[in-house]
């Protein structure tokens, strides 16, 4: 077992693991290691801070247990991801019930699921389709694939022809996107060290983690967010190094008034600065 794994296991057993942001990061780590039950539990802990983590929990769940129904307590606290899960399993009634619990959330996923689940619930054939539903579907397809793309025209033609299964198959990749779990990067690992205060955070390892980001495929904003987190880790490291230097000056000369003042000042401000740093969302 390498040092990184030992440290992460230590963090997973520590009090820090109950922090939603730390739990989400630990979830990513478990997911990457294909430890899906542990990933599900970690993401479930994190779901209170961001509903997005609920989708990752569902991704972990279905990787381990497939279409097996989600636990009731999870459905209660993450109705939107649960609705997505039911959409994926092809159960519109359960999905629409979960979506109802989610309330009117002004999120893209909500309107997508509404249309997708409705499509699932409709009996095949052109006769039974409500007229206003086509407009909503059209709007959704436009948003997903553009107004005049071949794919848009094809999907609408399928719908008009009563081939609902074909439309659902066409929308399936968009549904899958919600379950996409990002990779666990070295920046995430170092952010966990920062959140938990466990392990060694030094300048070289932060530089290395930022260089590693280049090897990941880019997704909108992902790299920029990780890079910003890396810069904040550098900031934290320097803040700590500054304080250590003042303390060293004091150790050499306890009466050195400049060092006394600087140590006191940084000690006082550091607490608040670290709390503010922890508000940054690395995920």
């Amino acid at each position: 077992m390498d040092d990184r794994t030992i440290t992460l296991e230590k963090i997973a057993r520590s009090e820090a693991a109950v922090r939603p942001d730390a739990a989400a990061l630990l979830g990513l780590w478990h997911f990457e290691k294909k430890e899906y039950p542990a990933a599900f539990l970690a993401f479930s802990t994190a779901v209170s801070s961001q509903p997005r983590f609920g989708f990752w929990a569902v991704a972990a769940w279905r990787s381990e247990w497939g279409a097996k129904p989600l636990p009731a307590d999870f459905v209660a606290k993450a109705p939107l991801p649960s609705a997505c899960f039911w959409a994926w399993t092809g159960k519109p009634d359960e999905g629409l019930a979960a979506l109802k619990k989610a309330g009117t959330v002004a999120e893209k996923i909500h309107s997508f699921l509404e249309v997708y689940l409705k499509l699932l619930s409709l009996p095949p054939g052109p006769s039974s389709r409500p007229a206003e539903f086509r407009e909503r579907l059209e709007e959704l397809i436009w948003e997903e694939y553009g107004v005049s793309s071949d794919r848009t025209r094809n999907l609408l033609a399928l719908y008009d022809a009563g081939n609902l299964a074909g439309v659902l198959a066409g929308l399936r990749p968009s549904l899958e996107q919600f379950f996409a779990v990002p990779p666990f990067s070295s920046v995430d690992y170092l952010w966990l060290l920062f959140l938990s205060g466990i392990g060694n955070l030094d300048f070289a390892c932060i530089s290395e983690a930022l260089s590693e980001l280049e090897h990941f495929p880019d997704s909108p904003g992902w790299k920029a967010q990780k890079a910003a987190a890396g810069q904040l880790l550098f900031y934290f490291f320097l803040l700590r190094a500054g304080l250590e230097s003042f303390e060293k000056a004091l150790k050499i000369n306890p009466n050195f008034s400049k060092a006394v003042k600087n140590t006191h000042l940084v000690k006082k401000e550091k607490l608040e600065l670290v709390e503010l740093l922890k508000q940054f969302r690395v995920l």
């Binding site: 900031y235 000056a249 000369n253 969302r281």
Partner: protein, 365 residues
């Protein structure tokens, strides 16, 4: 096996001293049987190391020759840490032996290697044998100074000055403790005394100039002119042929600081830690010009240098390094602003930046 006192069987054939140190001593996985005849101590490789002034001075000045000297010493003595290890063993063997010279050398050795507690104990043992030896008091004072024991350091230096008034070093050292303590009048008196003993003592003159430069902000232009006069005298001492650099009256103080730094840099072969101090003052000068004007590269350079020198244990260097780290940190906050919008991340970064700006504004350089 190395040369010197690492004798094995042959030691018995030599005139054996009253005390023979025998030790099994391991280094790099190899165990050596070391027998050191105490009377042969002066020829032993440990003491040989003490006498290797080039290495010691290289360590103090961090000259370019450091690497070469160290390599040479390692060839001769195994390695630096092995010598330190043996010195620690010798220390226990020397306990109870009344040899003030051995204790003094061992004490100085520990002092250079920043083993201050050991150095203090050895020097005190030397002092017990010769309580009126000014040299021992001077070294003990230096050890106490490094440990932050200011009262003891002052007592040692004062006694050394009283016992032997021939050495300006003692008064200069006393002045430096007072200067660091912020007791400026006492420091001034001590530096003046050092200059009275030796008017050509450049380090004391520069320390006095530094004291006046430090007081400029608080007590007006009188000190500025005193500092200028001292710098002119120092300049002449260093190079009587050269003309004093021109001073820009609108940045009088900064011009003097620059000259002070140049002088410190030029005389680093005469005074220990002067080059370290010079870096402090260069940094100070840069900060007085406005720390926000320092580029990232400049700060990196300062930090690198200060970090390297910081091992010598100077309180002001550590303080400067701390300030430099915190000023450097703001560049990373600025870089973090590239974070994508959403999640309130930018809001948090802006809050941190404003708090950090307040912190920087309150630091003491």
């Amino acid at each position: 096996m190395q040369r010197g006192a690492r004798t094995t069987k042959k030691v018995a054939e030599k005139p054996v001293s009253s005390l023979v140190l025998r030790d099994d001593y391991s280094f790099d996985g190899i165990t050596y049987r070391v027998e050191t005849a105490y009377d042969d101590l002066e020829r032993s490789w440990v003491v040989n190391f003490f006498q290797n002034n080039r290495l010691l001075s290289a360590r103090l000045y961090r000259s370019d020759a450091l690497g070469r000297d160290r390599a040479e010493a390692e060839r001769a003595h195994g390695s630096e840490s092995s010598v330190l290890l043996l010195a620690l063993q010798l220390r226990s063997k020397l306990a109870g032996v009344k040899d003030s010279q051995a204790h003094l050398k061992l004490g100085y050795f520990f002092f250079v290697h920043q083993f201050y507690a050991e150095a203090e104990a050895e020097l005190k043992a030397a002092l017990a044998a010769f309580p009126d030896l000014a040299e021992v008091l001077f070294h003990l004072g230096s050890v106490c100074h490094r440990q932050g024991k200011f009262n003891q350091a002052v007592a040692c230096f004062e006694k050394a000055c009283a016992l032997d008034s021939r050495y300006a070093d003692y008064s200069n050292a006393l002045g430096q403790v007072y200067l660091e303590e912020g007791k400026l009048e006492e420091a001034e008196k001590a530096f003046l005394s050092a200059l009275e003993i030796n008017p050509e003592y450049l380090d004391a003159r520069l320390n006095l100039a530094q004291l006046y430069l430090d007081r400029v902000g608080q007590e007006g232009d009188g000190f500025l002119h005193k500092a200028e006069q001292l710098l002119k005298e120092s300049f002449e001492l260093l190079d009587p042929q050269a003309s004093f650099p021109p001073i820009n009256p609108t940045i009088h103080y900064d011009s003097l600081c620059r000259i002070f730094l140049d002088l410190k840099a030029k005389c680093n072969s005469r005074v220990d830690k002067s080059n370290l101090k010079a870096w402090c003052y260069l940094f100070n000068l840069a900060f007085r010009s406005g720390p926000e004007l320092l580029s990232r590269t400049q700060l990196e350079r300062y930090i690198e240098r200060l970090y390297l020198e910081n091992q010598f244990g100077f309180a002001d260097l550590s303080n400067f390094l701390g300030v430099a780290y915190l000023f450097y940190a703001r560049f990373f906050l600025a870089a973090a602003v590239d974070a994508p919008e959403g999640n309130d991340n930018l809001k948090w970064i802006k809050k941190i930046s404003s708090k950090h700006a307040f912190l920087l504004g309150s630091l003491e350089t």
